[in-house]
Symmetry: C2
Subunit: 339 residues, 2 copies
DNA sequence: ATCATCCGAGAGAGCGCTCTCACGAGTCGC
DNA sequence: GCGACTCGTGAGAGCGCTCTCTCGGATGAT
């Protein structure tokens, strides 16, 4: 008398079908080697026949693991999400690495400030084993709160102030320095910059790189206008820059998008690039190859940032002790035609 | 003698602290109204004191719900993920709407074809209550397989062939028709198109719109070069088009990125836009406002596509019967300077 | 005062899984 | 040939929650 298994098959169903115990089936499912080959084989057969798939909720309940990792994009990050290619690139990197490790990616887009509590609640519920945080603003208390909650965290970008959680970042300053050296080597002497927001580490460090680079030019005065990494702010900042000093012969923009904006303003105001004004960006997003002229820029390994974030959080989740407090990836200047 | 609660507080812990039973605490947590106000209050107090957060795994185990929705981006979609602004925009829309409903967004990026099985396994495991699928290619068997697995599914974009699952799409053809009419109204007579891939509905329908629009021009012959929606393909297709017919006075590109590529080729070959050649794109991504000249394009409500996808899947998951088999959102022509 | 009614709250089963522990059978040493 | 091991397997507890069922007590009708 075959009992028709009502819904999805469970371990029990498989066990009965294979004439083994639940424990042994579990062993096979989880790849234990202590099961007699022929028994294992018949269990595998039963699993295939019945189309058995383990119930992750039941498993999580006992293992206290969920095999999923949250990627949190705070409001400040979602703002640039659909324009900038940075976060999509990072997400891809994270997703890819997690897929290899057979972990799930839970995306937490904090669209409003009120999401903050929701995120905390969510993480406290231990629905995820760890958190990758795209922390952007210095004032962000989330990393610390998460750490306090006892959840493994790794952030993208060094936090402002003291770093209390491991992070992945890139060599902002040295990359910018290389750009500045390139500009100076080209004979440029009036080098301005369109900086990023100064409440983000990326904004600050790229500005620091600009200032450091300028020191190679005795007597040169810094010429800074701040943007928000997006295109429109580059357009506007370039206008201000030119108004302040029409004799600018080079500009370093802290993002490719702003560099593109600057290119646009320069063209509109009749400046030739790079003949009159050389332009260098930062990021090396896909679009940088298609600006007019193609953008010389500081390349940062966006995809690798993602894979490294995933790698580190996986190690933390696995309980490894020797996880670096920080990983700083190299940047390099990609010379195209704008400088 | 206070027992120090070892790890996270459970329902039991709260129950003891509040002097109630597990069942009653559960009632309060889940907002049942049949609890005496003072009892409910003391339970709420205990919950706050202990920092109790329900364990979702335990809850899922009994409710058979997970309160999370998967967003699957097949390999073909991840390819354009970091360049095109379409998917990031959709993700934002979906994420936002799901957040409002207090559901989680699980992102499944299928980076390789082998991910197919993994996705199926995952969905079979019922780790998610429903699936939003960015189905792109006609050959994609995933929608059908998911439906067969008994999981609620809604796809972004009408599938090629018979639609077996509900979908959200936009009025491709009529939007393109409006673009064509605009071009013709401008007096253009040699109108070419850079089409999208013909194994995608979006590609096909936009081409159909072009062909339909051309009929208003007696004797006009279609002039089509195919691209893949990305920038480089627009650059290349435009070259081919010009080689085939140097007298082209307008071109409709099936994506903004390809339109931008076309703009680039036209500029390089000394054509003025829109004086010599008018250009219209499709999508109205952020970058369209910043091309040179600013791109006239067919706007599609990217963000709304996302929110609608979320809305529909939530209704399906909730077991509603009267869910539309399709929702087709309007498009409209946004006239800027390129045409 | 008696009984039916109703409402708030507790007891307890059970969701599907993992994992410890115990057990029986075979192997080995002396 | 007997105790000491080893090794594969099964029994059973228990993860934290929901939900049904039951029950005690208060209420209202008669």
């Amino acid at each position: 008398m075959n009992e028709t298994p009502a819904g999805r098959p469970t371990l029990e169903t498989v066990a009965r079908a294979a004439g083994a115990s639940r424990a042994t089936v579990s062993r096979v499912v989880n790849g234990s080697t202590t099961v007699r080959p022929d028994v294992a084989e018949s269990i595998r057969q039963a699993i295939a026949d019945l189309g058995y798939v383990p119930n992750p909720a039941a498993r999580s309940l006992v293992t206290q693991r969920t095999d999923s990792i949250a990627l949190i994009l705070p409001e400040s990050a979602t703002r640039v999400f659909s324009d900038d290619a940075f976060f999509p690139g990072v997400i891809r990197g994270v997703g890819e690495a997690l897929e290899k490790a057979d972990k799930q990616l839970v995306l937490l887009l904090a669209s409003t400030q009120s999401s903050h509590d929701r995120i905390l609640r969510y993480v406290h519920g231990r629905t995820v084993d760890g958190v990758v945080l795209a922390s952007m603003h210095g004032a962000d208390t989330l990393p610390e709160e998460l750490r306090a909650a006892g959840v493994p965290v790794v952030t993208s970008g060094r936090p402002l102030g003291e770093a209390t959680v491991p992070y992945i970042d890139v060599e902002h300053a040295s990359g910018v320095k290389a750009a500045m050296d390139h500009l100076i080597g080209l004979g440029r002497r009036r080098i301005a910059t369109i900086s990023g927001p100064q409440d983000m580490v990326a904004g600050r460090e790229r500005l620091a790189g600009y200032l450091a680079g300028l020191e190679a030019l005795p007597g040169a005065v810094p010429l800074v206008e701040e943007g928000d990494f997006m295109r429109q702010s580059g357009i506007d900042a370039m206008e201000r820059l030119l108004r302040r000093d029409p004799g600018i012969d080079a500009v370093f923009a802290a993002s490719d998008l702003m560099a593109d904006g600057a290119l646009r303003t320069l063209r509109r105001l009749g400046r030739r690039v790079p003949a009159d004004v050389a332009v260098i960006g930062f990021d090396d997003v896909e679009a940088a190859r298609f600006t007019d002229p193609p953008l010389t820029t500081v390349h940062q390994p966006i995809h690798e940032i993602g894979t490294r974030l995933a790698e580190q959080i996986l190690r933390l989740v696995a309980g490894e002790e020797e996880v670096e407090a920080s990983v700083v990836l190299p940047t390099r200047l990609v010379v195209r035609e704008s400088a």
